[in-house]
């Protein structure tokens, strides 16, 4: 699960990780109020930042007002203008795709002087099966490009499984960032506290780009990206509350409410499959058969009438879908039962209406596959049956060609 920058910084503050002062606003009036408060406390420079779950905001532009997603302001009036330009508009960045994301919240922060821009990240290193801290003096750049072009500019510290981050590891990183004196001490505390936050919250990623050093030797997280292990959210109800459903595709949200694992893609052949690996393989097969997968949909172990009905509704909501391939490998689930489920779902008036022009190919394999095929072949519905995966592939090719 991803969260917004302002939420990540709230977590940072709870752990004593230094961030510039800031507050979130969902209206221009609120933004102005925050800026006035900051001004009364001595601030004379502000930054207004669009809160969306995507990077590249500074270089992104909104569709209507052509505003940058990160705006530097020298007065409360400029904050007002920035806020009204951003709120309600749609921000398009490198990471959002052409459709962009609507800006519903902005983060108003105090502007700080920057002496150096650095990079700090924490994530799970899958190959080494432990958490890794990554730091670089090349802050403000795309870290993947830095890793590609100048890997020597990235330092890494791996945390031993079952242990905390050791002080010497934090020192190593702070030295590698070229820090000394007061800034060094502050950076070590910053790194130790940040790792605590990562570990305590079951985060899957923290990325601070840039981490900044100010002329008066303060170390701050200027930006913050944080996401969490979905499997661990059960033990973090406070973090679960930070979920912003407006950031999730509406049909993906609907699917998750029915315990279906659905990801929308932009192809023309919908698919419904039991099991994630087989679902991915089915998508690949659609492509090899001349179509493009319209979605990933894993209906899990119990492909019954209800799951099939919900699956149909979600797939058919996408107007690009020209055909649907259902691929079920029956193990514990018997194929004749799945066939009955499919036939019953297709008779549902709401679904029947929509599938009139959308051919459905049902491939059933495994326990009672022949019985399942027979049920489908003997029905008078517009459903094509297949047993072998290669036959299903040919049927897909026939209908999309």
């Amino acid at each position: 699960m991803k969260i917004h920058e302002y939420q990540a910084k709230e977590i940072f503050e709870d752990y004593g990780v230094a961030v510039p002062k800031g507050k979130v606003a969902d209206s221009t009036e609120h933004a102005v109020k925050i800026a006035k408060e900051m001004k009364s406390e001595g601030a004379d420079l502000f930054v207004v930042k669009a809160q969306i779950h995507a990077g590249g905001r500074g270089k992104g532009r909104t569709k209507k007002n052509n505003a940058s997603g990160v705006i530097l302001c020298e007065s409360v009036e400029e904050v007002q203008e920035a806020a009204s330009n951003l709120l309600g508009d749609v921000l398009v960045t490198k990471q959002t795709g052409e459709e962009g994301k609507e800006v519903n919240q902005i983060y108003v922060t105090e502007g700080v002087d920057i002496e150096e821009e650095l990079y700090l990240g924490i994530l799970m290193d899958r190959a080494r099966e432990r958490n890794v801290l990554m730091a670089s003096t090349e802050g403000g750049m795309n870290i993947e490009e830095v890793a590609e072009e100048t890997p020597e500019k990235i330092v890494k510290e791996w945390v031993e499984p079952g242990m905390d981050l050791m002080h010497n590891q934090a020192r190593h990183i702070a030295f590698a960032l070229g820090l000394s004196g007061d800034a060094f001490k502050k950076a070590v505390k910053f790194i130790m506290s940040l790792y605590d936050a990562f570990e305590d919250t079951d985060a899957s990623l923290i990325e601070i780009n840039p981490l900044i050093l100010t002329p008066d030797q303060e170390v701050y997280a200027l930006d913050a990206k944080m996401s969490f292990d979905d499997n661990a959210l059960g033990r973090h109800p406070d973090i679960e509350k930070m979920r912003d459903e407006s950031e999730i595709d509406p049909m993906e949200l609907e699917a998750s409410k029915h315990d279906l694992n659905y990801i929308k893609l932009d192809g023309n052949v919908g698919c419904m499959v039991n099991g994630a690996g087989l679902a991915m393989a089915t998508m690949d097969m659609i492509k090899l058969s001349g179509g493009e997968p319209a979605n990933f949909l894993d209906v899990g172990g119990g492909a019954n009438v209800d799951t099939v009905k919900n699956g149909f509704r979600i797939i058919l909501d996408d107007p690009n879908v020209e055909a649907i391939l259902i691929n079920i490998f029956g193990g514990i689930v018997r194929c004749d039962r799945v066939a009955n489920g499919v036939l019953e779902a297709v008779k549902d008036p709401e679904i029947a209406d929509k599938v009139e022009d959308v051919p459905i190919i049902v491939r059933l394999q495994g326990t009672n596959a022949e019985e399942g095929k027979k049920l489908i072949d003997e029905s008078d519905l517009n459903v094509i049956s297949a047993v072998l995966l290669k036959d299903a592939a040919e049927e897909v090719n026939n209908v999309v060609a």
């Binding site: 899958r126 499984p161 979905d230 694992n261 690996g277 991915m280 393989a281 193990g331 495994g366 290669k390």
Partner: protein, 288 residues
């Protein structure tokens, strides 16, 4: 004649009195697996499926000489169950549970390693040696005894592959579902090693998917060490980057973990890679 499990394996089912554990324990017993006990803390004086239920895995080891465990406990408690098996001296721990927090697995795997146990999974269908022992949730009837070793990160895609292999007239020595999580006990390379050393496995089928670099590492190992024929399929060529495709580990991130990179590494190592999931059986047959 096989790896990891066989007719002599003495299996304890952790979570046997729960609905999942109970259902699959019965299926395993019907298959002929030597299930010797169950474990459910607090139900230590009961019998279930005509097997004794113990409070602890240690009791099952001591009283029934269990050497293999299979875990069906909810994900929040599964890492604890894995370590309990390791502490009790279980040799092969098979964890079916899906949804274990990854930081729990980082620590549990360390415990498994330091106690010298072998962990399969989590988030896997288990291990089957056809005709001898099914320690998992797969449909036993699609498997045939034979000489093909099968390794896969997924469940139903494994069944699909097995079905095609069996239809080519080839049986399996053992099929290992290694699991779809980012941290798993036995990875592709470990499983390849097991089959390479097994005299009764003549060829290996490796089913991978997007995410991580485990398939690339296995390719390197195969290139340097394995003379047996290897066929492979990698799922997820059409998966978009940055999205988790059902399995917690199936994600292309920062340009790593793509299907193309994995296929290329495997091909370079001399592995026969099936482009279509419909051609896994045929591809295997072509290299034998």
């Amino acid at each position: 004649m096989s790896v990891l499990v066989d007719k002599n394996s003495r299996v304890v089912v952790q979570g046997m009195t729960g609905s999942e554990g109970s259902f699959h324990a019965e299926q395993m017993i019907n298959y002929g697996t030597n299930v010797v006990a169950g474990v459910t803390p607090g139900k230590g004086d009961q019998k279930h499926l005509d097997r004794p239920v113990f409070n602890t895995v240690a009791d099952a080891v001591e009283q029934e000489e269990a050497d293999t465990s299979i875990i069906f406990v909810p994900p929040a408690f599964a890492a604890d169950a894995i370590t309990e098996s390791a502490f009790a001296g279980i040799e092969v721990i098979i964890c079916i549970s899906e949804g274990i927090p990854v930081q729990d697995m980082v620590k549990a795997k360390q415990v498994v390693r330091s106690h010298g146990a072998t962990l399969i999974g989590p988030n896997c269908p288990g291990v089957i040696t056809p005709g001898e022992a099914k320690v998992g949730i797969m449909p036993g009837n699609i498997f045939e005894s034979g000489s093909i070793g099968l390794i896969s990160r997924s469940g139903t895609l494994t069944y699909e592959a097995v079905d095609q292999i069996t239809k080519e007239g080839l049986g399996q020595s053992t099929a290992i579902g290694i699991g779809g999580d980012p941290i798993i006990g036995t990875n592709h390379t470990d499983a390849v090693k097991l089959f390479d050393e097994d005299p009764d496995t003549e060829a290996i089928v490796l089913i991978g998917e997007i995410g991580g670099t485990a398939e690339e590492e296995a390719a390197e190992y195969i290139q340097n060490n394995v003379d047996k024929p290897v066929a492979a399929f990698i799922a997820g060529s059409t998966a978009p980057p940055g999205r988790r495709m059902g399995h917690a580990g199936a994600i292309i991130s920062g340009g790593t973990g793509t299907a193309e990179a994995k296929k290329k590494a495997l091909r370079n190592a001399g592995v026969a890679v099936a482009e279509s999931p419909a051609e896994i059986g045929k591809t295997l047959k072509s290299i034998l």
